[in-house]
């Protein structure tokens, strides 16, 4: 059975095709979800790809939040559906309130495109169970607004509840300080990715779909995408069993 994974396309999304390509390498059948449709077509998981939805004018991700597809995504998430936001997709999920915190302009005030090392803080999630094989992953970032921010109380709660999914780490595998080069945007507590309380919605700034082919430098991102596809498959199976079909 092929696992249909939706890839949301906003006007200005520009990693949608890359994400679909990488998802199919991870064994999924990618399905385009057009921003004007409030129907997710029964997909087993949803990915919000990178890019500049609606130009990212005003604040990255803010205008996208009001599109019809996001109403559907919010409902889908509330029902326990698996949702992953990558880069701009993470920004959209944060603006929509589906993930905690905000993504501020990079401290350098410059767009940053470079390879980073991230460590999975949890390897028992829909998004990372495959990562246990490797621990630290290398993949590119490319963004101008990726500085993770939340107030201290929220940050403490995220840590306590195990909702920090990825952190930027230095060569020794330690979380990179705000001013370190290894923390490409100055994120608080080196946070590169987070989850919602239920663990079914996640976002990260680095691009796993750009690390899906060793020819391009790394295939570490495949571990994230395979985790997602396998989790989606498992969920489909469970739901089918649950409804007695």
């Amino acid at each position: 059975m092929s696992i249909r994974v939706g890839v949301v396309v906003f006007p200005g999304s520009n990693c949608d095709a890359d994400t679909a390509w990488a998802l199919s390498r991870a064994g999924a059948e990618p399905v385009e979800l057009w921003h004007e449709h409030a129907d997710l077509g029964g997909v087993a998981a949803v990915v919000l790809p990178g890019g500049f939805a609606y130009g990212d004018y005003l604040r990255a991700g803010v205008i996208a939040r009001f599109s019809p597809v996001m109403r559907a995504v919010a409902g889908y998430a509330a029902d326990g559906g698996i949702v992953l936001g990558i880069c701009n997709g993470f920004q959209v999920l944060a603006e929509a309130g589906l993930l905690p915190g905000a993504l501020l302009r990079n401290r350098s005030l410059r767009f940053v495109c470079r390879d980073v090392a991230i460590r999975a803080e949890r390897v028992d999630t829909f998004f990372t169970h495959r990562v246990a094989e490797r621990g630290v992953l290398r993949m590119p970032v490319a963004h101008g607004e990726g500085c993770y921010y939340a107030d201290e109380a929220t940050l403490d709660a995220l840590e306590r509840d195990g909702r920090v999914l990825f952190r930027y780490v230095d060569d020794d595998g330690n979380p990179a300080r705000v001013e370190d080069r290894e923390n490409p945007n100055g994120s608080l507590r080196a946070i590169a990715g987070v989850m919602n309380a239920a663990g079914n919605v996640a976002g990260l700034m680095p691009h796993p779909e750009r690390a899906a082919d060793a020819l391009l430098g790394s295939d570490d991102g495949m571990l994230v995408l395979r985790s997602l596809v396998e989790s989606a498959a498992a969920r489909v199976t469970t739901m089918a069993a649950g409804t007695g079909r």
Binding site: F52, G55, F111
Partner: protein, 776 residues
């Protein structure tokens, strides 16, 4: 009549205020058989500007080689297109946005990217990469820093958003660009060979549909006044409204355009760049031998109260024109609506060969409404292909010597020891110099991965883009040698072609074709025109010798700030094809124990080198020669050796010479090496000379004999330099030139160059941020 053309400055006739000469006015009247009205005059002025008409350069460009079986579209199209197999073709072109970037660096650079991308998708190709070739004055100067930061942000701001990776380019500092920076942008696209679109308006009765952004007062007169008047002119009437780019709109425009083409709805397609709608309609009609009746009132506007001339010459960004059969309109409108893009029928193709501008509307048959007025009528040909041409006078400039750096004695010698220079210190100085240091500060501001085709890291030689679904890869580079061009534009242009082709060949790829941007001064100055003529001659000769067609390009003249012209800068872009991406060879040392070889002969001559600039040598008459036969042989050899899978790394010798190449390969590979370099003329030439046609390559020890055989078959000299390995770069100088009198320190003794890898890396990484005052 008043067409809204600004009244002439007191006493100056309108045509002159618009930048036309009396001779040009007479030629226009000759073509029309009457005097032009004001609107017609303004439309001619933008079309006959240097920028649109190539009136000074066209006779020269005709001499360039263009023929090649693989050329699907050559000069004259929006972009050159070449076949790459399996029914695919690559579109590529380079273009300048120098003056707009000097006025407003962010928007100038951003709209430069937008404009060249439109040339690519106007051919029906999906843009897959951008390269930016940038040149500025003194990096320590606050204004230069402002320009560099603005331009880099602008290139990134546009390319990153539109989703096309910026994968390469150049950043060069030279005092001649102080008042006039250069921003050249190259774009590359992919298209099915049978889906290539032409910028033509065939089929009388067809609709002319404008889609994309509304038309505002952007860049009015930009084509005629901005591009043709010497920059730095303080006359505010020559200050055009700055064009603001909207990459989000461009992204939608790309998707909508490719969808319109995929559905087979277009008969013709054109971008709207310089001279706006005037250029779009006259060139497309001219190419098809038709005319176009323009429905002025139908053109969507951003602002109220725009005069006809403003609407017709506005350079508002992110607009396209599609020519379509009337029954296709609903489908085109639906695609535009899906992408949220306004579209409007703004005219009809006619069979009279004229561009006619109608005020008062057209009826459903495309005929003027009762009471409508014709504001202008001119043959499309006269505006476009039959624009005036000039044969400008040319004269070589008197040779000028550069002032030596303060405190450095001006002597003819180039031996390092006399200057008290330690070669290791010179190497660190060169590696950390603004022109040779790491470009990471720039490259990291560009998304180079989007579309997931970019192979390899940033700033390590040519850009490599694999083609999904095939074994192939495209390799692309831009190169320009302003230092040599300043002294000898013929040689400078030829060297630029040689270097660009070499940069492609050392990856294993075969160079396919050349695009070029000719950045020169005021062509009405005989010296500047001579420089242009010589450069085009060098470009043509080098392309013929290397078997490369010129598929297109761009000419940017009047690059002069008050009192100083730029170094003539023929900028070369080359795209190559690697049939099997698994053959790809990079420039980094890959394994300890590999043998390091130098292919090609080291020739004397330090003129125009980075070393000469650093050492303050006045070496104008000491340029290295270029033997195009040797160049072709060296490139054929390296491609042979890579195809035989015998090469583990390759890098060409260029800026900074052999020592810098070895240092780069060591830094990138994270491993040093031990070398012995034979000195024939002087240590400086051996270590830092930039004579062309040389390639450093590494091979496994067992492969050395096979590689030697390949070199001798091509007649390429091959010298063994040393071995990869160790935490440092150690270069001993041996041979006659390394000893004796020149050194003044005893026979057989020469300074060895010995620098640790970490010192090399530090100098290389810190150089650019330090030069720009951007240290972390």
């Amino acid at each position: 009549m008043s067409a809204g053309v600004a009244p002439a400055v007191a006493g100056v006739p309108l045509h002159r205020a618009l930048g036309l000469t009396d001779e040009e006015l007479a030629a226009i009247a000759g073509k029309l058989g009457r005097g032009p009205n004001d609107l017609e005059l303004a439309m001619f002025s933008v079309m006959w500007s240097e920028h649109c008409s190539y009136k000074s350069s066209r006779p020269l460009l005709r001499t360039l080689p263009t023929g090649d079986d693989d050329v699907v579209a050559g000069p004259g199209e929006n972009a050159g297109v070449m076949r790459i197999g399996d029914g695919w073709a690559v579109a590529f072109k380079i273009e300048s946005h120098n003056h707009p970037s000097a006025v407003e660096p962010y928007q100038g650079a951003a709209t430069g990217v937008g404009g060249i991308l439109r040339d690519i998708f106007a051919m029906g190709a999906r843009p897959i990469a951008v390269l930016d070739a940038l040149r500025f004055g003194d990096p320590a100067d606050p204004r230069t820093r402002h320009l560099v930061k603005g331009v880099v942000r602008g290139v990134g701001g546009y390319g990153n958003c539109v989703g096309v990776p910026t994968v390469g380019g150049e950043l060069v500092f030279d005092p001649s660009y102080q008042g006039n920076p250069l921003v050249n942008v190259m774009a590359i696209g992919l298209v099915r060979e049978d889906a290539i679109m032409r910028a033509a308006a065939p089929g009388p009765g067809n609709l002319v549909i404008l889609y994309g952004s509304a038309t505002g007062r952007d860049g009015i007169g930009g084509a005629s006044v901005l591009a043709s008047a010497t920059f730095g002119d303080q006359d505010p009437s020559k200050r055009p409204a700055v064009q603001v780019g909207d990459p989000f709109a461009e992204k939608l425009l790309i998707e909508a355009t490719l969808e319109i083409l995929a559905a087979g709805l277009a008969e013709g397609l054109s971008d709207l760049g310089a001279a706006g709608i005037t250029c779009g309609v006259s060139e497309t009609a001219d190419r098809a031998g038709t005319g176009i009746r323009v429905d002025l009132d139908a053109i969507p506007r951003r602002e109220p109260g725009m005069a006809p001339v403003e609407v017709l010459t506005s350079e508002s960004q992110e607009r396209m024109v599609v020519i379509a059969r009337p029954e296709r309109l609903p489908e085109i409108a639906a695609i535009c609506a899906r992408w949220g893009i306004p579209c409007a029928v703004i005219g009809r193709v006619t069979d009279d060969g004229d561009i006619a501008v109608i005020e008062g509307g057209l009826d459903t048959e495309g005929q003027p409404n009762p009471g409508a007025r014709e504001l202008a009528r001119m043959p499309a040909r006269a505006l476009a292909s039959e624009a005036i041409e000039f044969d400008r006078p040319a004269a070589p400039p008197p040779r000028r010597r550069r002032a030596p750096a303060p405190g450095i004695p001006e002597t003819a010698g180039d031996g390092l020891p006399e200057r008290g220079m330690d070669p290791g210190a010179v190497l660190l100085g060169l590696l950390g110099s603004p022109n040779l240091a790491s470009r990471a500060w720039v490259a990291e501001q560009y998304d180079r991965h989007v579309q997931t085709n970019t192979v390899g890291g940033a700033g390590h030689g040519a850009a490599v883009l694999r083609l999904k679904g095939t074994r192939r890869a495209l390799v692309a580079t831009t190169d320009g040698n302003e230092a040599v061009s300043a002294i000898d534009p013929y040689l400078g242009a030829a060297l630029s072609v040689a270097e660009a082709a070499r940069n492609v060949s050392i990856t294993g790829a075969r160079p396919l074709g050349v695009t070029n941007c000719l950045n020169f001064g005021d062509p009405t100055r005989p010296e500047a025109f001579w420089q242009l003529r010589e450069a085009v001659r060098g470009l043509g000769d080098a392309c013929r010798a290397l078997g490369l067609p010129v598929t297109g390009g761009n000419v940017s003249l009047y690059n002069e700030a008050p009192g100083s012209a730029i170094a003539p800068t023929p900028e070369i872009g080359i795209v190559g094809l690697l049939d099997d991406v698994t053959l790809l060879v990079g420039p980094a040392f890959t394994a300890d124990g590999d043998v390091v070889l130098l292919a090609g002969a080291t020739e004397p001559g330090l003129g125009g080198s980075a070393y000469a600039a650093l050492a303050g040598l006045a070496a104008e008459d000491d340029l290295p020669g270029l033997d195009l036969g040797a160049e072709a042989a060296a490139q054929a050899f390296i491609r042979d050796a890579i195809a035989a899978r015998s090469v583990t790394a390759a890098q060409d010798v260029s800026g900074g010479g052999l020592a810098v190449v070895l240092a780069e390969m060591a830094i990138w590979g994270g491993r040093g090496g031990r070398f012995r370099v034979a000195v024939a003329s002087s240590p400086a030439v051996a270590l830092f000379g930039e004579s062309p046609s040389r390639i450093v390559l590494t091979v496994r020890p067992a492969d050395v004999p096979a590689v030697r055989a390949l070199a001798s078959r091509r007649g390429v000299p091959l010298a063994e330099l040393g071995i990869v390995g160790g935490p440092q770069l150690l270069v001993e100088l041996v041979g006659e030139g390394a000893t004796g009198a020149a050194e003044g320190r005893g026979v057989g003794v020469a300074d060895a160059l010995e620098v640790t890898l970490s010192d090399l890396r530090h100098a290389w990484e810190q150089g650019l941020p330090r030069a720009l005052g951007e240290e972390a």
